[in-house]
Symmetry: C2
Subunit: 427 residues, 2 copies
C-alpha cells in the first residue's frame, strides 16, 4: 500500500503548531509502518517568518499568506492552530469547500460555529476533526463519536479547565485563599494576566457546548450554557466541603432527558469517593454516565503544547487515512438543541447561613425551605453567638425553587447573611 505522501499545511506555528511539526517529523516513519499513511509538511503559515521555532524548515515551506496555504494545490490536509473565530472560520470553510480535510483545536470556533463547519464538511465529503478542542490530549471526541455512538448518554461531567482546577487544588491542599493562589498561578504562567475566561467559567462553557453537541447530536452554543466561575469560592467553603469528606471542583455538566438538553458550568461539591474528586492540579477529566456502559472516565492533560499536538496528530492521521480511502466521518446535520433553562434544572445544594443565635431560627429557616418545596437532607448548627452558622444540604431540588427559597431567606431578620450556594454532586 505504497501511496504518495499526504501533504499537510499548518495555519499557525506557536507552541502547539511547532510541537505538531516535530511530532510529524519524528513519528512519520513509524506511522507509515503501522497505518500506511505517509505525512509531509509542505506549508506552514506564520505571522513572522524570522521567529526562531527550533525547527529547520525547507525553503518555501514558511509563508505569511494563510489564504494561499489553504488554496495551495500542494496542500491536501489543513491543520488550524491559530485560535479565535476569524479569520480561522473563513480559512477552514475555504479548505473544506476545496475538498481538504481540516484538523483544528479551536474550541471557541467549534463551540460557536460547529454546525456550520460540520455542514460544510459533510457537503464536501471530507473530515473536520477537533479532538483537542476539549480536554487537550484526552481522546473524548473520538470516544463519543465512535465508541459511544450507540450509547444513550445520560450525563457528562467534566473538569475541563486546568487553571481553575489548579487553583482549587492548591486552596484545598494548602488551605490558601483564592486571591493568593491566583496570584501565584499568574506568576507561574498557569493563569493569564486577565484570568476572566478561565475563572468565570467561559472557557469551560465553550467546552460544555461542544461536549453537549457531540454527545446529544444537536447544536448547543456557548450562549446556551449557564456559566458560574470560582472567583466567589472562599477558604471557608473549601473547609466546609472537607469536613463533609467532599472537595469543590469546577464542573462542566451536560445532561439529556426527554429530548431536552441542559448544559452548565459551576462549582460543585463532589464526594471524595467520586472519581472526579481525585483529579488534581491542572489535569482534566470527563466523567460519562451512559445507560449501557454505566460509568466511564477519561483523564489526562487538558492543555500544553505536546499533549494538544498529540491529539491533533491522531486526528491528522485519521483524516489523512480517510482521504486516502475516499471516506469521511459523518457528523450529520445538526438542529439547534432544545435547551432546558437553568431554572428548570435540578440539583442538591449546599447552603451556608450566618444567623442570629436565638431559639426558633432553625424552625423559621426550615419553614421557608418547606414552603418552597425544597426538602432538607441535613442541617447543622456551627458556632454560637455572633458566629452562629447553619449549614444545610438539600435533597435534589429545582433551581427555581431554590432561588425562591434564597430570596425569602434574605428577607428573614434572623438570617444575617446567605453564603455561597454550591451545588452538590451525588456519588
Amino acid at each position: 500500500m505504497s501511496q504518495a505522501p499526504i501533504r499537510v499545511g499548518i495555519l499557525g506555528c506557536g507552541t502547539v503548531g511547532s510541537a505538531l511539526v516535530k511530532l510529524i517529523r519524528d513519528e512519520t516513519a513509524a506511522v507509515k509502518d503501522r497505518t500506511g499513511v505517509d505525512l509531509t509538511v509542505t506549508r506552514v503559515a506564520v505571522r513572522n517568518l524570522s521567529t526562531d521555532r527550533g525547527i529547520d524548515f525547507e525553503p518555501g515551506v514558511l509563508t505569511r499568506d494563510p489564504r494561499a496555504l489553504v488554496e495551495d494545490p500542494e496542500v491536501d490536509v489543513v491543520v488550524e492552530t491559530m485560535g479565535g473565530i476569524e479569520p480561522a472560520r473563513q480559512l477552514i470553510l475555504a479548505a473544506l469547500e476545496a475538498g481538504k480535510p481540516v484538523v483544528t483545536a479551536n474550541k471557541e470556533l467549534v463551540a460557536n460555529c460547529g454546525a456550520e463547519l460540520f455542514e460544510a464538511a459533510g457537503r464536501n465529503s471530507v473530515d473536520i476533526q477537533f479532538e483537542a478542542a476539549v480536554g487537550g490530549g484526552i481522546p473524548l471526541i473520538r470516544v463519543l463519536r465512535e465508541s459511544l455512538v450507540g450509547e444513550r448518554i445520560i450525563t457528562m461531567m467534566g473538569i475541563v479547565n486546568g487553571t481553575t482546577n489548579y487553583i482549587l487544588t492548591k486552596m484545598t491542599e494548602d488551605g490558601a485563599a483564592y486571591a493568593e493562589v491566583l496570584a501565584d498561578a499568574q506568576q507561574l504562567g498557569y493563569a493569564e494576566a486577565d484570568p476572566t475566561a478561565d475563572v468565570e467559567g467561559h472557557d469551560a462553557g465553550a467546552k460544555a457546548a461542544i461536549m453537549a453537541t457531540i454527545a446529544f447530536g444537536s447544536s448547543v452554543v456557548p450562549g446556551d450554557v449557564h456559566q458560574e466561575g470560582i472567583s466567589r469560592i472562599s477558604s471557608e467553603d473549601i473547609e466546609a466541603a472537607r469536613r463533609l469528606d467532599h472537595v469543590i471542583k469546577l464542573l462542566a455538566i451536560v445532561e439529556q432527558a426527554d429530548g431536552k438538553v441542559s448544559a452548565r458550568v459551576h462549582p460543585a461539591i463532589v464526594p471524595l469517593t467520586h472519581p472526579l474528586a481525585s483529579v488534581r492540579d491542572s489535569f482534566n477529566a470527563v466523567f460519562v454516565r451512559g445507560e449501557a456502559v454505566d460509568d466511564l472516565m477519561l483523564y489526562g492533560r487538558g492543555a500544553g503544547g505536546a499533549p494538544t499536538a498529540s491529539a491533533m496528530f491522531g486526528d491528522l492521521i485519521e483524516a489523512a487515512a480517510n482521504l486516502q480511502r475516499g471516506t469521511h466521518i459523518e457528523l450529520g446535520h445538526l438542529e439547534a438543541a432544545d435547551v432546558t433553562p437553568i431554572d428548570e434544572t435540578s440539583s442538591a445544594f449546599y447552603v451556608p447561613l450566618d444567623v442570629v443565635d436565638e431559639p426558633g431560627v432553625l424552625a423559621a429557616v426550615a419553614t421557608i425551605f418547606g414552603r418552597n418545596g425544597v426538602s432538607i437532607g441535613s442541617m447543622e448548627q456551627q458556632g454560637q453567638g455572633d458566629n452562629a452558622r447553619i449549614l444545610l444540604i438539600t435533597h435534589v431540588a429545582r433551581e427555581a425553587d431554590m432561588q425562591a427559597t434564597i430570596a425569602e431567606l434574605k428577607d428573614l431578620d434572623a438570617v444575617l447573611r446567605v453564603g455561597n450556594l454550591i451545588r452538590v454532586i451525588g456519588s
Copy 2:
C-alpha cells in the same frame, strides 16, 4: 444515504449476547439517524433453543448451528460472544475468510491467537474488532489504535481485573483478611468458585498481552507475561502500604524501551496521589504514559453484560460502517515481540524483614543490599524484641539483583523471615 440494513449474526446469547441484542433493538433507529448504519439481527447461534433470554426472536433467527450461521448468506457481520479458544477461533477464521467483519470480546482468543486473526482479517480486507476484550466498557483499544496511533507509548499500567480490585479494596477499606473477603466475593458472585484465573493474575495476564500487542505493534502472548497474583497479600502488607500513604493494587504493566517489550502482572504499592490509587471496587482503569500526550487514564466498568455489550455495539457500528464504505482497519502483520525477561526489568521494591533484635543487624542487612547493587531508599525498624521488623524500600533496581539480595538475606541468621516482596510504583 439509505442503504440495505447490515445483517448481524451473533454466536452465543448469554449475558453479553442478550444485552447486545437488546441494545441493537433499542438503539438502531437512533444509530441509523446519526451514522447511516442500519443494523438488524438475522441469526443467533445458541446451545439451547428453549432457554428464556427475555427476548422475542422472529422465527428462524435462533439456530443451534454456529458454523451455518457464519456461512449464512443472510449474515454480513459476525459477533462472537461464546468465549474460549475453540471453536471460537475456527468460526471467526471462517467468517473472516468469507469476507465478513468480526466483533469479539474474547480475551483468551485474542491474547493467544491475535496475530493469526489479524492476518486473516487483513488478507480478506475486513475488520476484526475486540474493544471489549480488555477493560469491558472502557474504550482502550480504539484509543490506542486511533487516537494514539502516532504516539510513542512509554508505559501502560492497568487495573484490568475487577475481582481482585474488589478484594483489595475491601481489604484496604474494611481491614478484612484476604480469605474472608474472597469467601464473601464468591458468595456475592463477584468471584468464581475456582478463583485461580482472577487471583493468580492469569486473566490480567491475557489482557496485558493484548495491551502490549496493540500499544507496541508486535505480538505478545500470555506466555510472555510474568504473572503474580494477590493470594499472598496479607492485611499486614495492606497496613504497611497505608502507613506510607500508599495502596496495593494488582497491576498489568507493559513497557517498551530500545525495541524490547516487557509485560507483567503483579501486586504493586501505588501512592495515593497516583490516579490508579482511587480506582475502587470492581472498576477497571488503564493509565498510559506517552511521550507527547504525557499521562492519560481511562476508567470504567471492566465487566458486566451491559458495559461489555456497549463496547461491542460501538465495534459493531464501526465494522458495519467500514463494510458499507468498503474500507477496513489496518492492523498490519505482527512479528513476535522481543520480550525482556522479568529478571532484566527494574522496579523499586518494598521488603519487610522479621529480624533478631540485636546490634549490627541493620548494618548486616544494608551490606547485603549494597553488595548486590540494590540501593536503599528508606529503612525503618518497627517493634522490638521478638516482634522486631525492618521495612525497606529500595530505589529502582534490577529484578535479578533484588532476587539475589533476597537469597542472601534468607541465609542471614539474624533474618528470621523475608516477607512479601512488593514492587513500588512512583507517582
